[in-house]
């Protein structure tokens, strides 16, 4: 039931894909968290992943930059297959940006140093250049004036925007968002979503786990619904929200949209 939406794209050559996930399974001990995941993401595509908690959606996108190991199947990111090779993993991670639910900024470094750490130590960028780059992205997320503060002195929304800037400083081709607004106060969600919408308009590949359905409607090319470790349904946002096919999707949508 998962392959139908892919069939139209299956003829395209592998070069067009930012991420290819093929027959992927993952277990936590005995627990089968991800069951037979198949997902092809074309370059520049924006994908929103939703589903009830415990459905495996976070685990799936964490597999894409090898923060979680998969036990079966293939994951190919930007032409590099994820194996046990640590060099491959580091190479993939430097091309894939990730934004976490709880920001995970480095509390002992200033906002600007958070942004320049990876360019300096991974990309071997000269400090002055890295700082220019950092300021550029801090301006993009609209907090250049906080550059010399420490993360603990910022609001949640500001911290999440710094986290986005920190990822962008590595100039990733793919961005992963793991529930970026779930830990934020309602009035701060908008400032983060605005930044993400602007980012989406610039052609980067995005995979975003979120329950912000307004965001999904505005930005997503495709919405994926997961439940029980499987991809249940995937479709373009209009069809997905107006005409869900599966009972579980209908139930989920009715639960999150009725307030």
């Amino acid at each position: 039931m998962t392959e139908n939406a892919q069939s139209t794209q299956a003829t395209a050559s592998g070069d067009n894909y930012a991420v290819i996930i093929r027959d992927m399974h993952k277990w936590y001990g005995e627990f089968h968290v991800l069951k037979n995941i198949n997902l092809n993401v074309t370059k520049g595509e924006k994908i929103v992943v939703c589903g009830p908690s415990g459905s495996g959606k976070s685990t799936m996108i964490r597999c894409i930059n090898a923060l979680e190991e998969h036990q079966q199947g293939d994951i190919i990111v930007d032409g590099t297959e994820l194996t046990n090779d640590l060099k491959n993993i580091d190479a993939v991670r430097s091309e894939v940006g990730m934004v976490f639910q709880h920001f995970n900024l480095f509390p002992h470094l200033t906002v600007l140093e958070n942004c320049t750490l990876a360019p300096i130590w991974v990309r071997k960028t000269p400090r002055a250049e890295a700082e220019t780059l950092g300021m550029e992205y801090l301006e993009r997320v609209k907090i250049p004036d906080q550059a010399n503060k420490f993360p603990g002195q910022l609001s949640g929304g500001q911290q999440q925007r710094v986290a986005i800037a920190r990822s962008l400083c590595m100039r990733p081709r793919i961005m992963l968002f793991d529930e970026p607004t779930s830990a934020l106060d309602p009035e701060m969600i908008k400032e983060v979503l605005d930044v993400m919408i602007e980012l989406a308009s610039e052609g980067i590949t995005m995979l975003c786990v979120t329950h912000e359905m307004g965001f999904a409607k505005t930005v997503a090319d495709r919405v994926i619904f997961m439940d029980g470790g499987e991809i249940i349904e995937e479709n373009n946002p209009d069809e997905f929200f107006d005409n869900p096919q599966h009972d579980r999707t209908k139930l989920f949508l009715s639960q999150i949209l009725e307030h």
């Binding site: 580091d90 991670r93 894939v96 940006g97 976490f100 900024l105 480095f106 991974v122 000269p126």
Partner: protein
């Protein structure tokens, strides 16, 4: 405002002052200070008058009298004809010796234990755990006595000494090891070593500047290691090993020549270090595991390698948690060294607070001196550690 107060029923002035937040805290402080002062004044005056009534006045004259006792281990010239003051200095040096060596060894072993405790390898993890639980749940005095007993009773008399390549001899009177005689050329090696340290300080800064300017990374650790260790060692051999060793030799019932490390020192040093190391191991483990897994994930997601994650993200944060409890372990080790008296290691307590006290009967003066000395050491250690803590803390705010 004043009207509001005036309209309230008039309370007396003491009740008003007592119920004012600020004046109350001042009053309490004055009362507490006066009580403490009065207590100590009473105790000291009483002690002095009681001592006077049995014909003892407070005096430090005894320090300049001959001590007339021997000390087995002395870092400076000392004989039974030396003064009590000199005996005290010997004691201080012996305490400092065991404390400094102890802190160094305890830190090394402790950090190693902490890292082993975090190991994902089941066996190393369990071994470190068992070691820590055994060592820290047995009083340190028992460790000292046990180790001393093992050394004294299991090692042979000097005439049957355990012979390590005709150079070092292990006996129950001590470990006899060769002592170095430095030839003039050796100072070249020492000079190179010093130059290596200066070079590495300069090179670290230089590498930092180059990285800032061009992004290029030098292998700073390996280059500095080469400058400090490899170059002097090579020079040592090229110059034809400019140290002659004075080998200890059996003469009569004991060894002559070379250096001797006393079993008391070894027992105390090893026992204190390995005991304290168990606590330091737990401090290091808890410090590192207190840093949330999210920090490691975020750093990994940016493409940083495992070593860089540890160096740039985890350790700078963990050190801040580790340093304060580490300070109290250093203080504990220094103060626990007073258990030396149980095995006859001549530290402060055994010299000025032991034999000198017994011989001169100056308990008030001797114990005050011992107390002030320990207080001085402890305050020095904590002020150094506080300085270091502040320095790494400043990085945050």
């Amino acid at each position: 405002m004043s009207e509001a107060i005036a309209s309230q029923p008039q309370r007396n002035i003491i009740s008003r002052l007592w119920n004012d937040k600020e004046t109350r805290s001042v009053i309490i402080q004055i009362i507490a200070f006066a009580a403490i002062f009065a207590f100590f004044f009473f105790m000291v005056r009483n002690a002095i008058s009681n001592l006077e009534s049995i014909g003892k006045d407070i005096s430090l004259d005894f320090l300049s009298q001959p001590s007339s006792y021997d000390i087995s281990q002395s870092l400076i010239e000392y004989s039974s004809r030396s003064t009590h003051f000199r005996a005290m200095i010997v004691g201080i040096l012996n305490t400092l010796l065991v404390a400094v060596f102890g802190v160094i060894l305890a830190t090394l072993v402790g950090f190693l234990l902490g890292v082993l405790r975090l190991s994902k390898n089941w066996l190393t993890n369990r071994l470190a755990y068992v070691y820590i639980e055994y060592v820290r749940n047995v009083p340190v005095l028992l460790h000292i006595l046990l180790l001393h007993g093992i050394i004294v009773h299991s090692l042979p008399l000097p005439k049957n000494a355990l012979n390590l390549g005709d150079a070092a001899f292990l006996t129950n009177r001590g470990f006899f090891i060769p002592s170095p005689n430095f030839e003039p050329l050796f100072w070249v090696v020492t000079g190179l070593f010093a130059a290596g340290i200066i070079f590495s300080i300069w090179f670290s800064r230089y590498a930092h500047k180059v990285q800032d300017a061009t992004g290029r990374h030098y292998p700073v650790f390996w280059i500095n290691l080469g400058a400090i260790i490899v170059v002097p060692v090579l020079a040592y051999f090229i110059l034809g090993s400019p140290i002659t060793w004075e080998i200890p030799e059996l003469a009569g019932f004991n060894f002559k020549g070379g250096m001797v490390v006393r079993p008391e020192f070894v027992a105390l040093w090893i026992a204190l270090s390995f005991y304290t190391a168990a606590f330091i191991g737990e401090i290091v483990r808890s410090g590192i595991s207190a840093i949330s897994w999210g920090q490691t994930e975020a750093a990994a997601a940016l493409g940083l390698s495992r070593g860089r994650i540890l160096n740039l993200v985890i350790i700078p944060q963990a050190l801040r948690i580790i340093i304060p409890p580490l300070t109290s372990q250093y203080l504990n080790l220094t103060k626990n060294s007073s258990l030396a008296i149980a095995i006859g290691y001549m530290d402060i307590v055994a010299t000025i607070g032991g034999v000198t006290l017994n011989q001169t009967g100056r308990e008030m003066e001797s114990m005050t001196i011992v107390l002030l000395l320990y207080l001085t050491f402890s305050l020095l250690i904590s002020s150094f550690m506080n300085w270091y803590n502040k320095r790494i803390k400043l990085v945050e705010r």
